[in-house]
Amino acid sequence: MFLFNSNKMFFLFILFFSTFISISSNTWFGCWIGLEINLLSFIPLISNSNNLLASEASLKYFLTQTIASINFLFTILMMLILMKNFEMNNFILIMMNSSMLMKMGSTPFHFWFPNIIEGLSWFNSFILMTWQKITPMIILSYCFNKNFIIIIIIFNIIIGAIGGLNQTSLRKLMAFSSINNLGWMVSAIMISQTLWMFYFFLYSFMITIMCFLFHMLNMYFINQLFINNMNFLIKINLLINFLSLGGLPPFIGFFPKWIIINFLINNNMYLLTLLFMMMSLIMLFYYIRITYSAFMFNYLKMKWFKIFIKNNYFMMINFLSFISVMGMILSTFFFY
């Protein structure tokens, strides 16, 4: 956590401000400025001169995001000069959307995402998975090409599901899950922006718990989960949160998926909904594979493997998981 490092804290604040600049600007140019400041402030957060993998990740991040921003700037200028901001034909929209998709880490430009996230700590990857998506999503929602976006959504969910099946590193797994959820979020954008905000808020809540939990347990790979003396409640928290992320009722993770399916069917997009559901089943499969350690109370325990886990923020995680379990029921109280 960066609360104890004032340099990183500085860059974190600039990161937050850059997003605000982007989303509250009137012009395309303002968006671009925000995007650049975002890039600038995120690089120092990631890079760590002690860790080779982190520095490499920061470099890769820089390259990809730069290319995306440059293309975005090019598209904006072309719109300004060639078309005088009047007509937006399909192709320019495709170019603009493509650069935003690359910013977010969405298919077919997502190949950097699992690579980079492998080198980040949990807090950084949390920021990468949640906060960094806000700006590109909002810019995407300003104008998008519907046919192109639907193809992108389909690719997103398929790649997110199938790519994640063969992973053992927890961060890569969360990256693919993030790609899948990007598909859901972009489809929410297609319907309405409020819907996207609702999905995004609940998704980031779930990712918060996950990243916090894994950071506290200091686990980066699946085989690290099978340790002896994990406190039973931590196991249950892990279980509940992963099942919630997979979208199983009655946890809170089901709520956003339910709403999106409802609205998709209201707009008669049946095949897309079917595809969403089938791929989310595959996602659920590898989430449950992670939670085997929590499900099985009896498994092979090694005698010499004694690692002690600090439980500093235990209460916070319990509280957040409580919301995860009871969230749906509590939220009904707000509507009557």
């Binding site: 290319i67 090019f74 192709f91 190949f111 994640g164």
Partner: protein, 581 residues
């Protein structure tokens, strides 16, 4: 505890005997006044059909119940001594009482659903009784019994659903009116088949000899008089439905063949209880065939008298088995007439009644049956079947008498055969009394006027001729020694065929099992572990895994290629835009 074991026998005996006498009194009253009482309790009524629990008390059901209660009371009293060394005698008596209860339910019900209750109960309780001794033979016999009976159960379930057509399950009321509908033809065929399974006609006759693995009191009660006659009783009740149908003629042929087959096979058997079982099977064939000639009251008459002497015969067999130290093979027995005269007396009288010696119980029913066969208009093959079977009856009975009583004792050189078991003797004497007088008594009660029979002299004496010839053959066969067995080897195939009950036990067990089990194995291999797995769990999983591995190849690439591909994409889109404007 011992006292309680014996006293339950005594109490049940008194209770059942009182019930039998009560039924006797009511029966006489009902016959004299031509009274029928039908009690109904409606359980549920909806959709224009109602499930009722009915009790029909007419002379037939009261008479049959009287006989059932009498035999069961005597058998329970008998088993007080026969099964006295049994640790779980309570369980045995309770099972027998449950059996009697199910039989009673069957007898008094004019309603096909309550017949199902009794029928299912009979099948299950007879399974429990046959497997009572818990050895391998009983286990196999029990399985064969239960599953053969189950076929009948399933057919009665189907009859229930076919009868849904008529709006009521009280078949008594509408059998005569509806017997031309094609649905009723289905019903009649299924009823006939169900009765055939219960009464062990061909092709379901393999269970009856096998069920001799049960204790002897059970055989006396179940396999001589009550369970196996349930099928005949069902057909007697359904008689109005079956007259002049094709199925009845088929039943005539099958039951005649059963009669014949059982008679022949009894001659090859050396196990005492199996001979008596096959004799029961032969008499059942007789009952069924006279029923299928259209004379149900004669079938009923023979059913009742047969119950008496067959139960007595089984009980005598039980005494003899006890005395021979649980040995059942008749080649080891002999000369019992010198040592146990009272038992010999019972055995002789029941054997003679079986053969139809004049003025015993069997004479009235069997002779009347044979004279009616003579008087009827069926063809020569049926005639032959009947008379040959009658001859065969005398044949095996006389052979049995020769082996048991006239030849020498073959078991051990030091022996003690005693006749002082008064409990068993008392029960046998009650049945002895009944098997002497019940023929004439029933003759006067059941038939308000005698049958008109007008036969030439030789036809009338045919029975005696055939019996004498049969008896002579019995004497000859029982004198065969080891040396003469060689003649059997020359006709080995024929002897095997005739002696193994025309291979029916093998056909109904090995012949059927193999094909069903092989079929099930193929199903399991091909569908359950084959196609279903490929199209659902396992197949999907392997497809996903392969695709994921394939995707990983795309993922693990040079970084510059990603960036370059993005640039190329942009250039393509740019050119497409530029060339379209």
């Amino acid at each position: 505890m011992n006292n309680m074991k014996y006293s339950i026998c005594f109490i049940s005996f008194i209770f059942l005997f009182m019930m039998s006498m009560l039924n006797f009194i009511f029966m006489i009253y009902f016959i004299m006044n031509k009274l029928v009482i039908l009690l109904e309790w409606e359980i549920i009524s909806f959709n224009s059909i109602s499930i009722v629990m009915s009790i029909l008390l007419d002379w037939m059901s009261l008479l049959f119940m009287m006989f059932v209660f009498l035999i069961s009371s005597v058998v329970i009293y008998y088993s007080k001594s026969y099964m006295s060394s049994e640790l779980n005698l309570m369980r045995f008596i309770i099972l027998v009482l449950l059996f009697v209860f199910s039989m009673m339910l069957l007898i008094i019900s004019p309603n096909i659903i309550s017949i199902l209750l009794g029928w299912d109960g009979l099948g299950l309780v007879s399974y429990c009784l046959v497997i009572y001794y818990q050895n391998l033979k009983s286990y196999n016999a029990g399985m064969l019994t239960a599953l053969s009976n189950r076929i009948g159960d399933v057919l009665i379930l189907m009859v229930i659903s076919w009868m849904l057509n008529y709006g009521s399950w009280n078949y008594i009321f509408y059998l005569e009116f509806m017997n031309n509908d094609w649905q009723m033809k289905f019903v009649s065929s299924m009823i006939i088949m169900a009765a055939m399974t219960k009464s062990a006609q061909i092709p379901f006759s393999s269970w009856l000899p096998a069920a001799m693995a049960a204790p002897t009191p059970v055989s006396a009660l179940v396999h001589s008089s009550t369970l196996v006659t349930a099928g005949v009783y069902l057909l007697i009740r359904f008689n109005m439905l079956l007259l002049d149908t094709f199925f009845l003629k088929m039943l005539l042929l099958l039951s005649g063949l059963t009669m014949f087959m059982a008679g022949i096979s009894a001659n090859y058997e050396f196990d005492l209880k199996k001979i008596i079982a096959l004799s029961t099977l032969s008499q059942l064939g007789l009952m069924m065939s006279i029923l299928s000639m259209g004379m149900p009251d004669l079938a009923f008459f023979h059913l009742l008298t047969h119950a008496m002497f067959k139960a007595l015969l089984f009980m005598c067999a039980g005494v003899i088995i006890h005395l021979m130290n649980d040995m059942q093979d008749i080649r080891f027995m002999g000369g019992i007439s010198m040592y146990i005269p009272l038992t010999t007396l019972c055995m002789n009288i029941s054997n003679m009644a079986l053969c139809g010696i004049p003025f015993l119980a069997g004479f009235y029913s069997k002779d009347l049956v044979l004279e009616m066969v003579n008087f009827s208009t069926f063809n020569l093959s049926i005639f032959f079947l009947f008379y040959l079977s009658t001859g065969l009856t005398m044949f095996y009975s006389f052979r049995l008498v020769m082996y048991l009583m006239i030849n020498d004792y073959n078991l051990m050189s030091i022996y003690n055969l005693y006749d002082e078991d008064y409990v068993m003797l008392k029960s046998m004497f009650i049945l002895l009394f009944m098997s002497v007088i019940s023929g004439s008594f029933l003759n006067w009660m059941i038939f308000p006027y005698p049958y008109m029979i007008y036969l030439p002299f030789n036809m009338k004496m045919m029975v005696i001729y055939v019996s004498l010839i049969g008896g002579m053959f019995g004497y000859l066969v029982s004198n065969m020694n080891i040396y003469s067995v060689n003649k059997f080897i020359m006709t080995y195939n024929l002897s095997n065929f005739l002696g193994m009950m025309w291979f029916m036990p093998n056909l109904s067990t090995y012949g059927l099992n193999y094909y069903f089990l092989k079929f099930s194995q193929n199903l399991v291999k091909n569908i359950d572990l084959g196609w279903s797995e490929i199209y659902s769990g396992f197949g999907m999983m392997s497809i996903m895994k392969k695709n994921s591995v394939l995707y990983n190849i795309y993922q693990m690439n040079n970084f510059k290629i990603y960036l370059f591909s993005f640039v190329i994409w942009m250039v393509i889109i740019l050119f497409m835009m530029l060339f379209n404007i």
